[in-house]
């Protein structure tokens, strides 16, 4: 591992007292003599079984420092997420994510997402039905374990609820033919119980429309841009809320080992039913890989909380050590300032691991 590499090599060499046996591979080859090339009959890969792909991701937290003395410093398993995915039949692929979380000391189990998707309804057209993450923006569509920092930005919780807008319904998505990626999405979801669409009693659905495009600048650099709009019932009976979201992601990933840059920003302009004016929430974050597997990041959050005049904001600084693709350590310092409470300084440490199915390399 590069982090512990360097001068320690000398000590390690001295300490390596056990003889290391060379590997067996190729042991039958004698210098200067030809031998048959090791071959056997090709076999078809028995990859596809009827068992679903199963994964378990756990997120352990240690609240190391918190200037808010009412918060109990502790270590706790914030979330364990069980993921299942499999083809249902030749037409349908299903995925389900079940979350077991610790909220203020109480355990809670919830189906975060559970849907089945028709990938080929017509050329370019796919549809999914079930409990799905709404196509609003980019960040809240990711599960928390896929974020480049600890938690969702402030505006996600303020506008859509702590885990974003995940609700029952249907989603139609169309990939516009052409060399460039252009995608249109239309969704109708059941009303939500959190955020500006917390209008369950209104009996009206949340309608979401989204457009995403992707730009490949060269081999190393690319960007994704998206715009989305959602309209649905509000917590104030007889009114509707709406939200406009804009997202921009830029990535620089050269072939050189251990160098990459990721810039993400996203803004929500939301109007909750009953509010006179549209409120804004957003974040910008940059993540830089300073050496293989070690990432440093900085993020700034700003959020005008809908339904009032409260605002909170603040910077975050963090570091992630991705020991392997399957587990990482992360430390994040966040300062939270607001117009309704004293500033708060928080330092959290995260230990996250995944077992089972190989994680997807999502953009």
């Amino acid at each position: 591992m590069p982090l512990i590499f360097g001068k320690t090599i000398v000590a390690a060499i001295a300490a390596a007292s056990l003889a290391h046996a060379p590997q067996d591979q190729g042991a039958s080859i004698q210098q200067g003599q030809e031998a048959p090339v090791q071959e056997s009959a090709p076999t078809q890969q028995a990859k596809n079984t009827f068992n679903p792909q199963i994964s378990l991701v756990t997120d352990f937290r240690w609240n190391a420092v918190d200037s808010d003395k009412t918060v109990r410093k502790r270590g706790f398993l914030k979330e364990a997420e069980l993921g299942l995915a499999s083809d249902v039949d030749p037409f349908l692929r299903a995925e389900a994510y079940i979350s077991f979380s610790d909220e203020d000391g109480e355990s809670k189990a919830e189906v975060e997402e559970g849907f089945a998707r028709y990938n080929n309804l017509a050329p370019g057209l796919s549809a999914k039905f079930g409990k799905i993450a709404a196509a609003i923006g980019r960040v809240q569509r990711n599960h928390a374990d896929q974020l480049n920092w600890l938690d969702y930005p402030m505006m996600v919780e303020d506008y859509l609820g702590a885990d974003g807008l995940r609700s029952g319904g249907g989603s139609l998505s169309y990939l516009i033919p052409g060399a460039r990626f252009n995608e249109l999405t239309l969704e109708v979801l059941d009303s939500h119980d959190k955020g500006i669409f917390a209008g369950g009693s209104a009996g009206a659905p949340v309608v979401v429309g989204a457009y995403r495009t992707f730009l490949d600048f060269n081999e190393d650099s690319s960007a994704q841009v998206g715009l989305s709009y959602a309209s649905g019932p509000s917590p104030v009976p007889g009114t509707r809320s709406d939200l406009i979201a804009a997202e921009f992601t830029y990535k620089w990933v050269p072939g050189d080992p251990g160098r990459s840059l990721n810039f993400e920003t996203e803004g929500y302009w939301g109007k909750q039913g009953g509010d006179d004016e549209r409120k804004f929430g957003g974040f910008a974050a940059v993540t830089y890989e300073v050496r293989p597997r070690l990432f440093l990041y900085a993020k700034y959050d700003y959020s005008e909380i809908p339904g009032g005049s409260e605002i909170h904001k603040g910077p975050s600084l963090g570091a992630t050590l991705k020991v392997t693709e399957f587990h990482h350590w992360r430390a994040e310092f966040q300062r939270i300032e607001s117009n309704f409470a004293d500033p708060r300084n928080v330092l959290n440490v995260q230990f996250q691991w995944v077992i089972g199915a190989h994680p997807a390399h999502k953009y």
């Binding site: 060379p22 210098q31 995403r212 992707f214 390399h361």
Partner: protein, 335 residues
């Protein structure tokens, strides 16, 4: 690099204008073979371009758009593309190329796979490939098999140009075989027979019996002095190559697949090099060479940086020239 990419892009664009079959592959080596066998009737391009570790690719949305229009999607398989294949196929919404359909191929289904784990498999063994080593293209014989299979596939999809595919295949085989054994031997015995002898380990014996031992050329002749010689590699990516050319891979710098070299493991590698006399540490340009240089500095072994895929090096323009570069560097490194 830019020149190579531009040339490839122009070739793909001009071919695409009248091509019958649109092929998208994951690695550039598969695209190179498909382009050679398909000729003007096939447009072939790869998702991975340039010096990239094929294990660590992200499922870019632009890949989905490219696969959306493909008639044929060819991957290596053996879970090389496990992190990104499924999201790309899902995002493409292309029913022709989904896993299990006739437009989806795994090249590794056609070849002999090495390093299949024989006991229990777990991630304690690193980022292991439970169905075997996926770096199949690193054996030119496997590239030859892939070409034969692709020619048959193209014929089945486009019988009107069957003759073209057969003649393209013959030209590819002739070029590959000549590069492997030397053109004089290929003219005298035919490539098929030479491969049979080489695979059976009797090539030099048969050539000696035919009084043609002195005619041996190509990659085999260049690699002959290294036959049975121990080498160290960074990752388990050269086992197919080593198997074909008789090299003995005695250790890797990675303690386990996918793990970065640790001081403790490098100390063991240094001891292994000392006990086996390995003279070369072979690694790809997309890995850090720091650890290899450190080991080389303590053992006297040479660090040999080679391309792993077409396009990794300006001289590795296609599948055959990829091996020209690899063989030249490894054989020169041994001097």
């Amino acid at each position: 690099m830019k020149h190579v990419l531009t040339t490839l892009a122009l070739a793909a664009t001009s071919a695409a204008s009248f091509a019958v079959i649109k092929v998208v592959t994951t690695t550039p080596d598969l695209a190179s073979i498909a382009a050679a066998v398909g000729g003007a009737n096939v447009s072939a391009s790869s998702l991975i371009v340039g010096a990239r570790d094929p294990h660590r690719i992200e499922a870019k949305p632009s890949y989905m758009s490219r696969v959306a229009g493909a008639d044929l999607f060819i991957a290596i398989g053996l879970e090389l593309e496990i992190g990104y294949e499924q999201p790309i196929l899902d995002g493409s919404r292309n029913s022709r190329v989904q896993i299990g359909s006739s437009g989806h191929l795994y090249a590794s289904d056609w070849v002999t796979v090495v390093d299949k784990p024989t006991g229990p498999v777990s991630r304690a063994m690193g980022d292991i490939h439970p169905y075997g080593n996926p770096h199949i293209w690193m054996d030119p014989y496997n590239g030859r098999i892939v070409a034969i299979k692709l020619a048959a596939k193209f014929e089945s999809m486009d019988s009107a140009h069957a003759k073209d595919y057969r003649s393209n295949l013959a030209a590819f085989e002739s070029r590959l075989d000549s590069a492997m054994f030397g053109s004089r031997l290929v003219s005298q015995f035919g490539g098929g027979k030479l491969w049979d002898w080489q695979r059976a380990g009797v090539l030099r014996q048969k050539l000696g019996e035919a009084g043609a031992a002195g005619e041996l050329g190509g990659w085999v002749a260049k690699m002959l002095p290294l036959y049975g010689k121990p080498v160290v590699t960074y990752h388990k990516s050269f086992n197919y190559f080593a198997n074909r050319f008789g090299l003995k891979v005695v250790d890797e710098l990675e303690p386990k697949p996918g793990l970065d070299p640790t001081p403790g493991h490098l100390a063991e590698v240094i001891k292994t090099i000392g006990s086996t006399g390995a003279k070369e540490i072979i690694e790809e340009s997309f890995y850090s060479s720091k650890q290899a240089q450190l080991v080389a500095g303590r053992t006297g072994a040479k660090v040999v940086i080679v391309p792993q895929n077409v396009g990794h090096d300006p001289a590795a323009k296609d599948y055959v020239s990829l091996f020209d570069v690899i063989v030249d560097r490894i054989s020169q490194g041994a001097r």
